[in-house]
């Protein structure tokens, strides 16, 4: 068993890698890495689920393999495939040279997709495997993943079982477009990433956009919180707050005020109904963003 990962140290290291994690997320990640078990991160779109995996890879100096899920995702796209063109040529070449047919299932002909590639870590914690938006895959893939996560091995009919010498760090993310099977969830540590508290969001904005004035960063964080408190179809995530802050910076704003609020709304809200609702309440939201009074 590899060394335990200290929660506080991991949190520090993530911060150095440019990712602000709260105690809960840092704990879930530390547990997953220590116990060599997968971690499932759930949350609304744009709260930083994928970035958490990226930061984790950078903390451990690990290679990151990302598998984007979709309906119909099969082994040929997720795990491995054979290079058919090359196989065919090898057969023809051997025939022309009057040699025996070569081994068509040697390493040369094997195409390693993310799941198989993730088994080839050269050292402990050398690979982070990000299985992104697992809720978009179908039941068949989930069932397959269950086996994969149980012993970090893949069986290829032509080759036998390939097992990992060093299991990868596995991060699954879900937007909850559907419920995952409990059998899969039971095998994972779990953390729900909520929208960040205002202080944490200020920290995130300033870390990603060092050029943004502190006062503007605070305005954007409070403004995003005020927007999330409203009934919107798509409340802004961190990605939208960052876009917003950057847009305001480009507009030359030092603070968020009524003049720049409306023109910049397109960067933070993605539905016309939401923009309309925010415009109608512009005065309250701007005031809340400037910390003058609550919306």
């Amino acid at each position: 068993m590899p060394n335990a990962v200290d929660v506080a140290e991991l949190r520090e290291a993530l911060l150095r890698a440019g990712y602000v994690a709260d105690a809960g997320l840092a704990t879930a990640l530390a547990c997953a890495v220590t116990l060599e078990r997968a971690v499932l991160l759930e949350g609304d779109a744009g709260v930083g689920k994928t970035d958490a995996a990226r930061a984790l890879a950078s903390v451990f100096g690990a290679q990151l393999f990302r598998l984007q899920c979709y309906e119909g995702l099969d082994l040929a796209a997720a795990a491995y495939d054979w290079n058919y063109g090359k196989q065919l040529l090898a057969i023809r070449a051997a025939e022309a040279a009057h040699e025996r047919t070569p081994d068509l299932y040697a390493d040369d002909f094997l195409i390693r997709r993310p799941l198989l590639a993730a088994l080839g870590a050269p050292r402990e914690r050398g690979i982070v495997l990000l299985i992104d938006e697992i809720d978009r895959a179908d039941d068949e893939f989930e069932a397959f993943l269950l086996e994969f996560l149980a012993d970090y091995a893949l069986s290829i009919p032509e080759r036998g079982t390939i097992a990992a010498a060093h299991p990868p760090i596995v991060v699954l993310t879900s937007n909850r477009t559907r419920d995952l099977h409990d059998a899969l969830k039971r095998r994972c540590f779990y953390h729900w990433i909520g929208h960040p508290a205002v202080e944490r969001e200020i920290e995130i904005i300033r870390m990603h956009l060092p050029g943004v004035a502190p006062a503007l960063a605070a305005d954007v964080a409070r403004g995003a919180a005020a927007l999330r408190a409203r009934e919107l179809r798509k409340p802004p995530g961190i990605a939208e707050s960052l876009d917003w802050a950057q847009t305001l910076q480009i507009l030359g704003a030092g603070r968020l005020d009524a003049d720049v609020f409306e023109p910049s709304l397109g960067s933070v809200l993605k539905y016309p109904e939401d923009v309309e609702a925010a415009r109608a309440a512009a005065r309250d939201i701007v005031a809340a963003a400037r910390g003058e009074r609550t919306a």
């Binding site: 909850r176 559907r178 179809r233």
Partner: protein, 382 residues
């Protein structure tokens, strides 16, 4: 100090007592976590417990109750309460993201709703003569014994199961896509000659069906019957969901397949209790759209709404949410038992607001008319 396994096992039982089914595998994980990463202080115990024992954010309230009860007995209960309250509250309102895949919404038909809602002849329902009299009785006219018999008969109503092409493929002799892998594997046996062509074809999947059941006032007995139909359907095929609503929306899906009849009907009864005169159909639909439909629960499928259309709120909200649902679902079927009366006209404001968005408008008040509902779910003109 008690050992980790005992602690984890005890907490697992405490969770179970609060209705959270974490299971022994999670308890074992929790014990191992405590062993490998010894917590310093209750705050760290809390987060380790949450990462390993909480199945879903939906159950966080029950989790907190169990945590306070179990660890409160071992530690300073007041300090724990402050700790749990200090935990950043999760964003509970779940507005989903925009639909991303296969989003060519079915166009609402140009025909008038009244025209589209064609009269449907019930398809054959195989019933013994003794059951025959039950088949046409309205669900709210049955006595208890008849209702029990009706629930049994429900199994004979045809299950709605419409298929669509999946993105998954399977080997087929006359498939439409060349299968390199299988063809080459065959070629290796025939000295590299591609003798037999192999191909794959798309599999099919069942389209989702969602039942939204109004449990207010006179609808309760119909909701019970339709919920039973949803249950029979869910036991026979995947991708069936059911919700009850009066003023709030309750997800009954987790109970649909496995819970006992009593437990399922009790859950429906709970939903009825939330009814305080007047139904908020628009608000319930909005909750469904935000939390489920927009995330894909109804995409490519049929939504069956049971309601008499008595809307307490502004029907404009109902119309707006119906328009949204129209874009998210493939088909919308409205079941209103009052429609069985020949003189019925959709004069109730809520019903009138919803009508333009419907693909089918049926009575569904008896076993026999449920057959027409099954047809409508599949988009067949009965």
């Amino acid at each position: 100090m008690i050992d980790e396994a005992t602690l984890a096992g005890g907490f697992e039982r405490a969770l179970r007592a609060h209705g959270v089914d974490a299971g022994t595998r999670r308890a074992a994980t929790f014990a191992e976590t405590l062993r490998r990463l010894p917590p310093a202080g209750m705050r760290e115990v809390y987060w380790r417990a949450r990462a390993s024992m909480l199945p879903s954010i939906d159950e966080v309230d029950a989790f907190h109750a169990a945590f306070l009860e179990f660890f409160g007995a071992l530690d300073d209960a007041e300090a724990l309460r402050r700790l749990v309250q200090g935990v950043e509250p999760p964003a509970r309102r779940e507005a989903g993201e925009a639909p991303k895949r296969e989003s060519v919404p079915p166009r609402p038909s140009e025909r008038e709703a009244g025209e589209r809602v064609a009269q449907r002849a019930p398809t054959q329902l195989v019933l013994a003569a003794v059951d025959e009299r039950l088949a046409d009785r309205a669900f709210d006219e049955l006595n208890d014994a008849e209702r029990a018999a009706m629930l049994r008969l429900m199994r004979r109503v045809r299950i709605a199961a419409e298929r669509r092409a999946s993105r998954r493929r399977r080997v087929a002799s006359h498939g439409d896509r060349f299968d390199f892998r299988a063809t080459l594997r065959g070629a290796a046996r025939t000295a590299g000659e591609l003798v037999r062509r192999r191909a794959t074809r798309r599999r099919t999947r069942l389209r989702p069906v969602v039942f939204l059941l109004d449990v207010s006032g006179s609808m309760a007995s119909y909701a019970r019957a339709l919920l039973q139909y949803a249950r029979v359907t869910a036991q026979a095929r995947p991708a069936v969901r059911a919700f009850a609503f009066a003023t709030a929306l309750t997800d009954l899906t987790p109970l649909l397949r496995r819970a006992s009849d009593e437990r399922l009907m009790a859950a429906l009864g709970e939903a009825v209790r939330d009814w305080g005169g007047g139904t908020r159909i628009g608000a319930a639909l909005r909750a469904f759209n935000d939390r489920y439909a927009q995330r894909g629960a109804a995409r490519g499928g049929t939504v069956v709404i049971l309601s008499d259309g008595w809307e307490r709120d502004d029907p404009a909200l109902l119309a707006r949410e119906m328009a949204r649902l129209r874009l998210l679902a493939r088909r919308i079927v409205w079941v209103n038992p009052h429609r069985r009366h020949p003189a019925y006209e959709p004069l109730v404001r809520g019903m009138a607001a919803a009508l333009p968005y419907l693909d089918a408008f049926l009575s569904g008040h008896s076993l026999r008319t449920l057959e027409a509902v099954a047809d409508a779910i599949e988009g067949r003109e009965g």
